[in-house]
Symmetry: C2
Subunit: 444 residues, 2 copies
C-alpha cells in the first residue's frame, strides 16, 4: 500500500510522478487516501501535472478535497479548477462553506464562474443541478465534414463530444446528432438530414428520479436539458445518473427501515445525527404499538384465566409482520421501478388475497401439527384458536401490505413509508384483536 510514501521517502520523485500519470486517476485518489500524513498527501498531490491533478481531485473524498484547497496555493488551485468539468466543480463547491466558495470562484475565469453560478442556483435534486454546460453545438446547415472540424475545434474542454446538439433560433433545441452518425455518414451529407429530431430531453426543474427513469427507458448515455422556453441550457451524462440511481435506492432502503433518509456516509456520520435520523419514527411507532398493548389490556380477564395464550403472541406478531413486509416490499419496489402502476390496484389486491390464502394454508397447517404433536397441555380448542388466527392474520397482512403502499401513492405520499415497520404495527393490532376475540368465543 505505502508505495507512494516509500517512493517519496527515497526521493524517487520523477519516477513517482511518471507512475501516477500512467495510473488511472481513481487509483491515484485511492492511494492518496491511504497515505497517513496530510503533509505527504499534499506533497504527492502537488507533484501531479494539472490535468491529472484535476482528474484525481474529482475522486478524492470531500474532506481530502477541502484539505487540498486549504493547503495548495490559490494560483495552482485556479489552474486545477480550470481543468475540472463544470459539474464536478459544482459538486465540490456545494460542499464548501460560502466564504471559501467565493474565494475560489474569484480565482476561476469569468465564463466558468458564470456557468458554475448558474448551476448552483438550481434546486437540489433537479435536472439543472445535475447538468454540465460543456457540450458541442452544431448548425444544421453544416456538412458532416464541416461538423467534424467543428467538433475538433470545440471538443477539447467538453464533457462529451459523442452527442452534438443542433439549436435553431433563440437557442431552441431542434435536433441531435451522434458522433457515430457524423463519422459513418458520407462527408458531404448535411447535419439537417442526418440529425434526429425526436430528441429525448428534460426540463431544468424536473426531479432527478424522473431524469434517471428516462435514461433507463431509452438506454441513453447523455441527455440534453432545456429551460421553460425550450432553450438548450445543459447536458446530463450517464455517470452522474448511476450515482442518482444508487442514491435513490439508498433512500428507499432507509425509508423502508423507518429511517430519516440521509446522504451522509454511515462511517462519517456523527452519532448525534445518526440517533436523530432514527428516533422520530421509532417514537411514532412505539406510541402506535401501545394501542396493540391496549387490546391485550382489554382482554386481561380472559388472559388471566388462560395465561398460556400469551405464549403464542410472539409467533403471531412476527409471522404477521413478515407476511406484510413481503407483500409491501414487492409492491413498493414494483412501483419504484415502474412495473406496477396505480391502475393495477385490483390485480394486486386479487393476487395478494390468493397468495395470502395459499401461504396461510401452508403455515397454518404446519402450525397446527406442531402444536398438536409438540405442545403439551394445549387442547384442540386452543390449537384451533391459534391456527385460525394465524390464517386470518396472514391473509390480512398480505392484503394490507399490498394495499397501503398503493394508497400512499394515491395520496401522493411516498409508498416506501408503508413498509415493514408501519405494516407490522397495523397487522399486530389486528392480529391480537382477532386472536383474543376468537379465544373469547371458543374458550370463555
Amino acid at each position: 500500500m505505502g508505495q507512494f510514501v516509500e517512493m517519496l521517502e527515497e526521493n524517487r520523485h520523477a519516477e513517482l510522478r511518471a507512475m501516477m500519470i500512467a495510473m488511472n486517476p481513481v487509483d491515484v485518489a485511492d492511494e492518496l487516501e491511504g497515505v497517513e500524513e496530510p503533509d505527504k498527501q499534499l506533497l504527492i498531490f502537488s507533484m501531479l501535472p494539472k490535468d491529472q491533478a484535476a482528474a484525481v481531485f474529482t475522486y478524492l473524498p470531500s474532506d481530502l478535497q477541502r484539505q487540498v484547497v486549504d493547503g495548495i496555493s490559490k494560483h495552482r488551485l485556479s489552474l486545477i479548477l480550470k481543468e475540472l468539468p463544470v459539474d464536478d466543480a459544482v459538486d465540490f463547491l456545494e460542499e464548501l462553506p460560502a466564504n471559501m466558495v467565493n474565494a475560489i470562484l474569484s480565482q476561476a475565469e469569468p465564463t466558468k464562474r458564470g456557468e458554475i453560478n448558474k448551476i448552483l442556483q438550481y434546486p437540489d435534486y433537479s435536472a439543472g443541478s445535475l447538468m454540465t454546460v460543456e457540450y458541442v453545438i452544431l448548425s444544421e446547415k453544416l456538412t458532416a465534414r464541416e461538423a467534424l472540424d467543428n467538433v475538433r475545434r470545440q471538443g477539447g474542454g467538453k464533457e462529451t463530444i459523442y452527442t452534438c446538439y443542433v439549436v435553431g433560433e433563440g437557442r431552441k433545441l431542434t435536433g441531435a446528432v451522434s458522433l457515430r452518425r457524423l463519422i459513418l455518414s458520407p462527408e458531404d451529407s448535411l447535419v439537417r438530414d442526418i440529425m434526429t429530431t425526436s430528441v429525448i430531453y428534460v426540463h431544468t426543474l424536473e426531479d432527478q428520479e424522473e431524469v434517471a427513469e428516462k435514461f433507463k427507458d431509452y438506454d441513453l448515455i447523455v441527455m440534453p436539458v432545456v429551460d421553460r422556453e425550450d432553450r438548450l441550457v445543459g447536458i446530463i451524462t450517464v455517470d452522474d445518473i448511476i450515482d442518482v440511481i444508487e442514491a435513490e435506492n439508498t433512500e428507499d432502503f432507509e425509508k423502508m427501515a423507518a429511517l430519516h433518509p440521509s446522504e451522509d456516509e454511515y462511517l462519517k456520520t456523527g452519532i448525534l445525527r445518526l440517533a436523530r435520523n432514527r428516533i422520530v419514527w421509532l417514537l411514532v411507532l412505539m406510541i402506535s404499538a401501545t394501542f396493540t398493548g391496549a387490546i391485550i389490556s382489554h382482554f386481561q380477564e380472559l388472559l388471566q384465566t388462560a395465561v398460556f395464550l400469551a405464549a403464542f403472541i410472539p409467533m403471531l406478531m412476527d409471522t404477521g409482520g413478515n407476511c406484510g413486509a413481503q407483500a409491501s416490499t414487492l409492491v413498493i419496489r414494483g412501483m419504484a421501478i415502474g412495473e406496477i402502476e396505480l391502475q393495477h390496484w385490483l390485480q394486486v389486491f386479487w393476487k395478494e388475497i390468493r397468495v395470502g390464502v395459499l401461504v396461510g394454508i401452508g403455515l397454518a397447517l404446519v402450525n397446527f401439527l406442531r402444536i398438536f404433536f409438540l405442545v403439551k397441555n394445549a387442547d384442540l380448542r386452543t390449537n384451533l384458536t391459534v391456527t385460525v388466527t394465524l390464517f386470518i392474520t396472514i391473509v390480512f397482512a398480505k392484503l394490507i401490505g399490498g394495499a397501503l403502499p398503493m394508497a400512499a401513492k394515491c395520496l401522493r405520499c411516498d409508498p416506501a413509508l408503508m413498509a415493514s415497520p408501519m405494516i407490522t404495527t397495523i397487522v399486530d393490532a389486528f392480529s391480537l384483536f382477532i386472536y383474543f376475540s376468537i379465544a373469547h368465543l371458543l374458550l370463555a
Copy 2:
C-alpha cells in the same frame, strides 16, 4: 392512445409508417404494447423497416417478442435478427424454449450464430453473459487518420465505436483509445502514442456485481472483457450495467424482506410461484418465533400473578425489531455500496452502542413518562421493569443489527439475509427474556 390502430383502420399506412420511423423505438414499443388485438400488433410491427423493427423489438416485453417470432415469416425474422446487437439477441433467445432457439439460430448468418452461441455458454450473471462481441479493433501502428478510416469501415454494425481496443499478439489486450482522442489528436499521431495502456477490464467469469462496481468506480461507459489468457473477447456497455444495478438492488430488497429473490415481474408472476418464494423463509421464521413463545411459557407462573405485564409485550417487541432493522439496513446498504468494509467492524460496533444508548435514553424516557401519567394502575416497579427492559432491548438491537450482517459477510453469506425479519426474531427472544427476568426480580 389508440393512434396507431386509428391510422391502421383508416388505411393511412404510409403515414403510420413514416410516423413510426420518426418516433423513438422505445415509444413505438410502448404504443404497440397498448394495442389490444394481437393481429393488429403484428400487422403494425411488420410495417416497420428492418433496422427500426430490430430497435423496437429490443424494447418489447418478452411475451410480445415471442408473439412476433411466432407470427412473422422466418425470412423476415432473420433480417431483424441480423440488425439486433448480439447482446440483445442473446437476452431474447435466453427467454425462448430450446427448440425455438435452434430454429431461429439456423436463420442467423454463421458468424452471428457463432457469436451468439459463444455468449449463451457463459454462466448467468457473469461478465461473459453480459458482453457483446461487436467492437472496433485497431492496430497500434496506425496513425490517428488511418485509425479513423478504420473505424468508418468497421463501425457500422458495432455496439459502440466510442472506445476502440488495441490488441497485440494472440489478441492480447494492450490498450484502448477513445474516439474522442482519435478525433482531437493530430492526424499523424500514432495510435501507440495516444492510447491508454492502463485499461480497466474484467474477466469473462467475474460476477456482474463486481463488473458494476468497476463501472461505478471508474465512471465508464464501456469496458472490455478478457478471457483467462487475457485475450480480448468482448465489451460490456453501460446501459446493460444500469439494468444490473437495478436487478441487484431488487434482489437486496427481496432478501431483506425474507423473500426468495426472483427476476420475474410481480404482475406477471403466478400466485403459486409467488407463494413458493415467500413460504420458505416464513416457515423458518415462524418456527424460530416459537422459541420466543417458549420463554413466555417458562415465566407462565409469574405472568399469572402479574398479567398486566402482557400488555407491554407488543411495544417491546415492535420497538426492538425496528431498532435492529434500522441498524442492519444501514450496515447492509453500506456494505453493498462499498462504504463499509469488514475491517470497520470495531467502528461499527462502537458507533451502534453509542447510538443505541442515545436512542435508548430518549425512548425510555418518553415511555416512562407515558406510563407514569397515562397508564392507570401501573405502579413504579412495573414502570421501571418496562423502561429498563426497553433501554436494554434497544442497545442490544442496535448492536446485533450492526454485528450480524458483518458476521454473515465474514462467513461469506449474503449480509442481506441478516435484515429486519431475522434480527427481529432474535431481538424478540432476547427482549422478552430480559423483561421477565427483571419482572421476576422486581415484582415477585
